[in-house]
Symmetry: C2
């Protein structure tokens, strides 16, 4: 056993069951969808963006309320909201002089909550 | 309006409703949890790791079956599995000469499926 090599991660026997592999390949995500999904998760891989989603999982909020809640500047919050909007993780509506942000749809709420349950379940 | 500035992202009126902000802050994720959650999403932000989860969402698989399904080397797959194990996104069990991998728990299945529903819902 080579030092630093985790043998538990590899099989000693490398013969493959062709039918199982073929079936798995048939249902595997294609490259384009896998890249899109990876980009969505990447948009969620920043602590500030996670905290913005945490705030929006409570209620819709104005940019200036988000900025005050996270104790950050409006422009810093706007920058992160831009990334979240690009990946359709949040949506906004204008009402008079205000711009309200919310989680895009119920998928995002579940996505956020599932991730949170996972990290809190230790 | 300055060119290149998306005014839709900022509120013109920056007065804050103290009670709403205070309530939001009270339920906001703390820094440590937000960082953990961001790291979990970061582990999911790679197309190969997404495809591994896609394969494991069908059934548990040996490392060599994963390698054959994704048409990659066992060592490349093992490397990605290591990251996924670190974040408790997959678990493994040994059976004789084989090492079987599976999604860690039902949270991960829902997390993966919700993300997928989101990118396919365009």
């Amino acid at each position: 056993m080579k030092p630093g090599v985790d043998i538990s991660a590899e099989c000693e026997f490398s013969g493959t069951d062709g039918a199982r592999v073929q079936e798995t390949q048939g249902k595997l995500l294609d490259d384009l969808t896998a890249s899109k999904l990876a980009r969505t998760f990447k948009a969620l891989s920043d602590p500030t963006r996670v905290r913005i989603l945490s705030a929006l999982s409570q209620r819709e909020l104005c940019v200036h309320e988000l900025a005050a809640s996270l104790e950050m500047s409006q422009s810093a919050i706007s920058h992160q909201l831009h990334t979240l909007r690009d990946m359709r993780l949040v949506r906004f509506r204008k009402e008079g002089r205000h711009v309200y942000y919310a989680l895009d749809d119920e998928h995002i709420e579940v996505l956020f909550q599932c991730g949170l349950d996972h990290v809190e379940h230790e």
